[in-house]
Symmetry: C2
Subunit: 191 residues, 2 copies
């Protein structure tokens, strides 16, 4: 369902356990960036009505989640602050083809893969975190990431036929798995 | 209350009456751009909690208005499409000082002046348009523009003291009035 080519291993869970505060701060930034991505896609393909409506819902939901994470940080007295992002997003971004309509397909599929990876990792967090409140928190966010993934893959089919979209998704998912496998020394949601 | 230095005259109302469809399409783009502006301000000043909350509300409201205008276009069988924007936004943008915190003050005040001008013009539309449905539509949007204006001016005071903000608002409002007076041959919401 999530089209991922790998599972996150214990290396990442160890990073999270040792630096939970940093991962929570990074999570807030990820929600904010996800809202920005959806709004940029709406700007780029504003004549696609279904895309506009879906992006609007996603912007609203991501901003709602952003505030949920901010509230959680506040409650735990963790100061929200700027953080060097993991290299995950920029490496994925480099894979986007420059010519339309391929560019649209890639932007949507990459947005969808980021949602899929978040979903997979929220699934691990809701199982393995020692802190019950955090387990419940990630459980509450799990479903929307899966839903967003499906929306992005569906919208990619506005710009290319189904077989082309699915084969490109396969390629990008393989690249995404390589990026995840190489990791990031900074503890982040996608390190 | 709106801090504007001029009133829109009959030149603009004539443009609207002769090219209502174009102004409606431009209005949809303006709502979308206003959402983008608010999100960008949130990204730039993400450590300011009140600003983040206010920008989130504004993003949500502007996107809601965007869809209201899209619905109106659809109902009137006017095709939503890309449009060369008026030169209003880019001319205002050129006035933003580059050094922080002056940059933050200017970005917020200019966003506030754009809301103020929209409010003033929605006020004219709700009075003078021959089409009753459109008059009601602009009446329904009037109040939120005034509210957004007040939010932006208030937030600017997070980055400079009150007297500095108010004197800069005075300067920028004078420049805005000049831009409006010079007009734009393309019929737009801010021509």
């Amino acid at each position: 369902m999530l089209h991922l080519k790998s599972e996150s291993g214990s290396r990442w869970l160890d990073q999270v356990e040792q630096h939970t505060d940093l991962v929570l701060i990074d999570h807030a930034h990820c929600e904010k960036k996800a809202a920005g991505t959806a709004l940029n896609l709406m700007f780029a393909y504003v004549e696609d009505e279904e895309l506009c409506r879906e992006m609007t819902s996603i912007v609203n939901e991501e901003l709602e989640h952003f505030h949920m994470v901010l509230d959680l940080l506040k409650q735990r007295e963790i100061k929200f602050r700027r953080l060097k992002p993991s290299n995950y997003g920029s490496q994925l971004h480099d894979l986007i083809r420059s010519q339309e309509p391929s560019r649209a397909v890639d932007r949507l599929l990459i947005a969808g893969l980021i949602e899929a990876r978040s979903c997979e990792r929220f699934g691990l967090l809701r199982k393995h975190l020692p802190d019950e409140e955090l387990r419940d928190f990630y459980d509450s966010l799990f479903e929307s990431e899966a839903r967003h993934h499906a929306v992005y893959v569906r919208l990619a089919k506005h710009f290319a036929d189904e077989s082309e979209v699915m084969s490109r998704l396969d390629e990008l998912a393989a690249a995404e798995a390589d990026i995840i496998a190489s990791g990031d020394e900074n503890p982040r949601m996608h390190s």
